[in-house]
Symmetry: C2
Subunit: 202 residues, 2 copies
DNA sequence: TACCAAACGGAGGCCTGGCTCCGAATAAAC
DNA sequence: GTTTATTCGGAGCCAGGCCTCCGTTTGGTA
């Protein structure tokens, strides 16, 4: 995997090309973090002190650039997920992991957007990692249910819904997103714990 | 209020103008319901079989048109709110009301967008109605807390957050929005009921 | 019927944002 | 130092969407 496949291997980049590629990634990281995935591409080119043509030669499309940036963040989350599953207390592990993801959604608008993107990024590396993360969460959920910590009628979709909605809360909150989103997530997780689900369920 | 104020009173619309105004409103209702507030104005003009100029003479801005449509829906919701507050069981009243609002968010994309609009519609009539609705909900919440049905650390913002996030769930769900959003709302409301809030709250 | 204020309609202005094209500049090989 | 393939850069193209301008049409009235 890290061994260059001679069929795919490309000649090393020219020095200026490599330098520009790095500057583009650096600028994209910063600008997507601050402004989200809707930041204009031109802003990134300017931030990298590079022309549009240069940017588009390195990344053929805006989505490709977003994906390239998102991968690093998603990899961090997967790592956190791998650690979380080692927790003997499954509910604790899951809730800690959800907190890490929430924290990142607050810090990094680009991550929030990438995490929430239903469409786009199709077939990207980031999607694969996101699914791995989901896998870890689902496995924790199942264990928590088996241990009687969470009600039985929950599944992976309920976790996804929680993450998604928490992201939207952050989006709306501006300042004290931290407080509001944490509060929201906590209340919802209390709903997960309810021993006897509400009879109002349709 | 219904008596025409001579200072504000306008001469009655010419017959063609009145007809076109009605057609615009009708088309806008349909198209906003189906496509949401982001539907292009041109689509509405076409649907009403009217030129852009005509549309903009009747409604000076897209937001004004959205507001005009939203008012009717919001009024319905306020009415539902007035009925809900008569319920002796406050929690039941609130949850029924939330269900009505959710139902409307599923049926009408335009309503969902208007309800969720943080900015825009500034000073519009719709905003006033939305705040009335919030008032009813807050009063129900307080009563439910006094009756020991809901935990004490909740306030109107928690209701707003729930409505907002439910809307976002609907947005993402496509088909079976009904099922997913209902489920989500139910779980969250179970969190409202929790007697002893989670110790994981930061 | 003849007049004219009111209303009509849609082409076009303007802006934003993704993406492309191609002459100029330059790193690397000889 | 010359050559050449690679890379650079940014003006400009295109699409979508809000809104305006103004020549044309029409409803109401004398």
């Amino acid at each position: 995997m890290s061994t260059p496949d001679p069929a795919t291997a490309r000649p090393p980049l020219r020095r200026d090309a490599q330098r520009n590629r790095d500057r583009i990634l650096e600028a994209a990281r910063r600008i997507f973090r601050e402004q989200g995935a809707s930041a204009p591409v031109e802003e990134i080119a300017r931030g990298a002190e590079v022309g549009m043509g240069t940017l588009y030669r390195h990344f053929p499309t805006k989505d490709a650039l977003i994906d390239a940036i998102a991968v690093a963040r998603f990899a961090e989350m997967v790592e956190a997920g791998e650690e979380a599953v080692t927790n003997d207390n499954a509910a604790e592990g899951l809730e800690g992991l959800l907190r890490v993801v929430l924290e990142m959604q607050i810090i990094d608008r680009g991550f929030r957007d990438a995490l929430s993107a239903v469409t786009g990024l199709k077939g990207g590396e980031a999607i694969e990692l996101r699914d791995q993360l989901r896998g870890h969460m689902t496995s924790l959920l199942r264990r928590a249910q088996a241990a009687g910590q969470y009600r039985d009628d929950l599944n992976g979709d309920d976790i996804s819904a929680l993450i998604w909605s928490t992201g939207r809360i952050v989006e709306r909150a501006g300042d004290d997103a931290e407080r509001l989103a944490t509060r929201f997530q906590t209340v919802h997780l209390d709903g997960f714990r309810t021993a006897t689900p509400s009879t109002l369920t349709a």
